[in-house]
C-alpha cells in the first residue's frame, strides 16, 4: 500500500478529524458560494427591524442595524478563511525561504537568521500584531499583514530544524557526492520530505490566524464596519449582551466551530503523518 494511501486511511479512522473535515468543508462552501447561500445582503441595513430575535424571516435574527445575522456569518466565513489562507500563505513562503536557507547553508546566515527570529519572538505574537496595526492603522488588510508577519518566525524555525535534520541524512549526502546542485538537492530531495510538518503546522496556523484576526477585529483594530468579520460583529453586539444575546452568540460560535474544525484536522493530520502511530 502506498505511503499516501496509508496516511489517508489513518486519517479517516480518526473520528474527530473526519468531523473536522466535514465542518471545514461546510465553511469553505459558505466562503466560496456566500453570494448564493446567504438569504440576504450582509450589508443591507434595515434599521426599522434591528435587534430582532431569531425568527422564520431571519433564522439567526438581526443585528443592531437590522442586518441578517446568518447572512453576515456566511459572508464572514469568506473573510475569515481568506484572511487565514493569505496570512498563513505569506508567512509560509517567507518563513520557508528564510528557514530553508538558514538550515541548509548554516554558518553565519544561520546565526543571523536565528538571532532575528529570536528578536521578533521576544514580542508575544498578539502584541506584535497589535504593534503592526498601531503603526499601519486599523483595517482588514493591515490585520492580515500583521498576523502574517507574526507567524513568520514559527515557519522559519520549523523549516530550519527540518532542513538541519534532513541535510545530514544519507540520501542527501549521496546526492551531494554525486554532484547535484544545491537547488536540485533542496527542491527534489529535502523539500518534499519536509512537507508534512509544514502541512500540519499550516492547518493549525490558519486556525490561529483566524483567532488573532478576530481578536484584532474585536478590539476595533482589524476589519472595520460594515464588514461582516466575526470578531468585529462580536464587538458591536457586546453592548446588547443583555437585550439581544444572539448578536454575540452566533458569530462567536462561528469562530469556535471553524477554528475547532481546523484544529481537529490539524491534529488528525499530525497523528496520521506520524510514522510511529499505527
Amino acid at each position: 500500500m502506498s505511503q499516501r494511501k496509508l496516511i489517508y486511511l489513518k486519517f479517516k479512522r480518526n473520528r474527530l478529524a473526519v468531523v473536522g473535515s466535514i465542518l471545514l468543508s461546510s465553511f469553505v462552501i459558505c466562503a466560496i458560494f456566500a453570494d448564493y447561500l446567504a438569504p440576504y445582503d450582509p450589508l443591507q441595513a434595515d434599521l426599522a427591524d434591528n435587534l430582532a430575535p431569531p425568527s422564520s424571516a431571519h433564522i439567526l435574527g438581526t443585528d443592531e442595524l437590522g442586518r441578517d445575522v446568518l447572512s453576515r456569518i456566511i459572508h464572514g466565513a469568506r473573510i475569515s478563511l481568506r484572511l487565514g489562507v493569505i496570512s498563513v500563505g505569506t508567512a509560509l513562503v517567507f518563513g520557508v525561504i528564510i528557514g530553508a536557507s538558514a538550515g541548509y547553508y548554516g554558518g553565519t546566515l544561520d546565526q543571523v537568521t536565528m538571532r532575528a527570529v529570536d528578536i521578533v519572538l521576544s514580542f508575544p505574537t498578539m502584541l506584535m500584531a497589535i504593534m503592526i496595526v498601531a503603526i499601519l492603522g486599523p483595517g482588514l488588510t493591515n490585520a492580515m499583514l500583521a498576523v502574517g508577519i507574526s507567524l513568520i518566525p514559527e515557519y522559519t524555525r520549523l523549516t530550519r530544524s527540518t532542513f538541519l535534520y534532513l541535510r545530514e541524512l544519507d540520501f542527501v549526502q549521496a546526492a551531494k557526492m554525486v554532484g547535484a546542485s544545491d537547488a536540485r538537492i533542496i527542491f527534489r530531495h529535502i523539500l518534499p520530505n519536509s512537507v508534512s510538518p509544514l502541512i500540519v503546522q499550516s492547518t493549525l496556523n490558519i486556525a490561529t490566524a483566524i483567532l488573532s484576526a478576530a481578536a484584532l477585529g474585536f478590539l476595533g483594530l482589524g476589519a472595520q464596519p460594515p464588514l461582516p468579520e466575526w470578531g468585529a460583529m462580536l464587538s458591536r453586539g457586546r453592548i446588547y449582551l443583555m437585550v439581544a444575546f444572539h448578536v454575540t452568540l452566533y458569530p462567536g460560535l462561528a469562530i469556535v466551530i471553524s477554528v475547532l474544525s481546523l484544529n481537529m484536522i490539524g491534529d488528525g493530520l499530525r497523528d496520521a503523518l506520524d510514522p510511529r502511530m499505527t
Partner: protein
Amino acid sequence: MLRYALRRILMTIPTVLVASAIVFLMLRFIPGDPALLMAGEDANPEVVQSLRRQWGLEEPLPIQYLVFLKNVFEGNFGFSIRSGLPVSYEISLRLPHTILLSLIAMTLSIALGLFVGIVSSTRPYSLVDNVSMFFALVGVSAPVFWTGLMLMWVFAVKLGWLPAVGVGSLAHLVLPSITLIGFTTPVLARQTRSCMLEVLRQDYVRTARSKGLSERAIVYGHAVRNALIPVITVAGISFGRLLGGSIITESVFAYPGIGKLLIDGIFARDYPIIQGVVLVYALVFTLLNILVDLTYVYVDPRIHYE
C-alpha cells in the same frame, strides 16, 4: 550552572537592545513628525520644541536611538498625550493589576494543565482522557474574548454573582482570571499529554516497568522529569499566549491593567504610551523566557554537567 545562567542572560542583551530598537523605530514609521506625534496635534509649539530637544529628534537616527536608550534607562518614557503625566507613572499605576492577574492565571493554569495532561497520559484513550482532551481542543479553539463575554453574561448579567468590570475586590478578579485560565490551560494540557505519551512509550519506561517499579514511581520519577523539558518549552510559549490574552481580557472586563492602557492609547493616538507599554511587555516577556531557560538548567541533567 551559574556560568550557564550568566551566559544565557548576557546572550539576551543584544536581543533586548534590538527589540528596543524596533520599538524605537515604530514611532518613526508612522507618517508625520515624531515630535508632533508625541506631543499631540494641537500642542503648544514650545512643548513640541522641547520634546525635540529632549529626544534628540533633530539628530541623525542612530544618535536618536542612543538618546532614546538613555531616556529609557533613566525611566523617562515620555509624557502621555492624553493625561500629560509621565508614561512611567501611568504604567506603574496599572502594572500591578496586570501582574496580579497574570500571576494568578499562569500559576493556576500551569498546575491545572500539568495535572490534566499527566492524568490523561496515564490513561490514554479512556473516558477521562477523551473528555478532557475534547474540552482542551474546544478551549484552544475558542477566542478569549468570546469566553470572557459568555462568562460575563452568565455570571454577571444573568446570575449577578460577580461584578462584570473593573477592580476593587477579590470578586473582580474571578471572571478575568477564569477567562485567562481557560485560554492557556488547554494548550498546556494537550502538550503535556503528548510529551508524556512520548516518554511513556520509551524503552527505558518499559524496562522500569518490567523491573517491577510501581506505576506511580515511573510516572512521577521518570516520565514527568523527562517530559518536563518540552513541556517547559510550551509553558514558555504559553507565556506569550498569556500576555496576548491578558491584553484582550483586560479590554473585555475593563480591567485597568497595562493591556487596557495600550488599547486606549492606540485609540487616543497616544504614541508615548504605546511605545512605553510595548517596551514593558517585551522586557517582561524576555525576562520570562530567561526564567524558562534557567528552569531548563535545573531540570535537564545534561546541561547540569556542562
